[in-house]
């Protein structure tokens, strides 16, 4: 695998650290290989602009990122209005699969698409450490 170019996403403008895209790619690949049923993954900034994606040809990471940001925004409002603490994730259950969106602090989000056999329990377990690591890669 060639070294991926280093560049700063918009939300990190003005901060000192560059993003290690290779490290993000490793996290996405490991997640897809570890959890049965994960089909596509995207990391996007909280405004819905994709940072890195690992998706099939028929999935548009721009659309998915924008939808995930809107989804997370609504869910975050709901968490605040109901005073139930900090939002961690939302999961959309469909007849043929799942779309899970994880908050990565207040700066970014992780989208995981899965087929109908997605092992949700395993995904929940694995993503706790994955989102922590992604947060530390993205922030100085």
């Amino acid at each position: 695998m060639g070294r991926l170019a280093w560049r700063r996403p918009a939300f990190l403008k003005g901060k000192r650290k560059n993003v290690d895209y290779d490290a993000l790619a490793v996290e996405l690949r490991k997640l897809r290989e570890t959890v049965a049923g994960v089909t596509d993954t995207v990391i996007a900034a909280v405004d819905g602009i994709p940072i890195i994606s690992d998706v099939a040809d028929n999935v548009d990471p721009l659309n998915i990122s924008a939808l995930a940001a809107a989804n997370l925004g609504i869910a975050r409002q709901a968490a605040e209005v109901t005073r139930q603490g900090t939002l961690h994730q939302t999961v959309v259950f469909n007849s043929g699969g799942y779309m899970a969106v994880y908050a990565i602090g207040r700066i970014a989000l992780l989208v995981v698409l899965g087929d109908g056999g997605l092992n949700l329990g395993r995904l929940l377990y694995e993503t706790r450490s994955v989102t922590d690591r992604i947060a530390s890669i993205l922030t100085p």
């Binding site: 900034a45 940072i51 990471p61």
Partner: protein
């Protein structure tokens, strides 16, 4: 390991779920010692199996055997009996564990005897472009993108994971499919994101230097009014 656990559950005539932890793992539901349902993230359930393919008289039984195959062909780390789980309404009269294990053994043997046995969960095949697949296997080749495992293809086309894995093994043997190299990142970095900048905070009014300043009135210099 699974055989021992299932046989013991049958002997104890339990009404509970045998939760198998592993990769992919699964759950075997017992009622009165008979297996009434098997679920695994490794195999499509009855509802997901396409009605037009794999038509068999006993689709429920076939899906159960397929799920049991999916559990045994993967890794099993441990198992436990959970009698607090909701007892599922039986989708069939239930089958004896001995019969289920027999069906699983046949499936495992069939995969092991194939020309190129692969794991349904690890290897990701891609078309080689050489050789023409048989008509009924074209769908599998079309879905082999190098991102999907045999299990993923089974879910995508709504067929049993066992039959798809055996077909993939056959296609690998016929040089129609090849294994995609492992540990390759198939995604992409979105550099266009870097082109977008956060909204710059507006400069403070004091710092504003108008390019074309308006005339300033000074006392005593006012011109005559009309």
């Amino acid at each position: 390991m699974l055989a021992h656990a299932v046989t013991q559950c049958h002997a104890d005539r339990i009404n509970a779920a045998l939760v198998v932890t592993g990769d992919p793992g699964g759950v075997v539901n017992f009622r009165d010692g008979a297996v009434i349902a098997v679920h695994s993230p490794g195999a499509p359930g009855v509802a997901m199996l396409s009605a037009t393919v794999d038509v068999q008289a006993d689709r429920v039984g076939a899906a159960m055997a397929d799920a049991a195959f999916a559990i045994t062909v993967g890794g099993i780390s441990h198992y436990l009996v959970d009698d607090t789980a909701d007892v599922l309404s039986p989708t069939s009269a239930g089958i004896s564990p001995t019969r289920l294990l027999g069906q699983v053994a046949v499936r495992l043997a069939e995969l092991a005897a194939s020309p190129c046995p692969v794991s349904p969960y690890r290897e990701r095949p891609v078309p080689t472009g050489r050789g023409e697949p048989a008509a009924e296997l074209r769908e599998i080749v079309a879905h082999a993108t190098g991102r999907r495992t045999a299990r993923d293809i089974a879910f995508a086309i709504g067929r049993g994971v066992h039959s798809v894995t055996v077909d993939v093994a056959r296609l690998l043997g016929d040089d129609v499919l090849a294994l995609a190299p492992a540990a390759v990142f198939t995604g992409r970095v979105h550099h266009e994101a870097g082109a977008l900048r956060p909204r710059a905070s507006p400069p403070r009014p004091a710092d504003v230097v108008p390019a074309d300043p308006l005339p300033v009135r000074r006392p005593g210099r006012a011109g005559r009014g009309p």
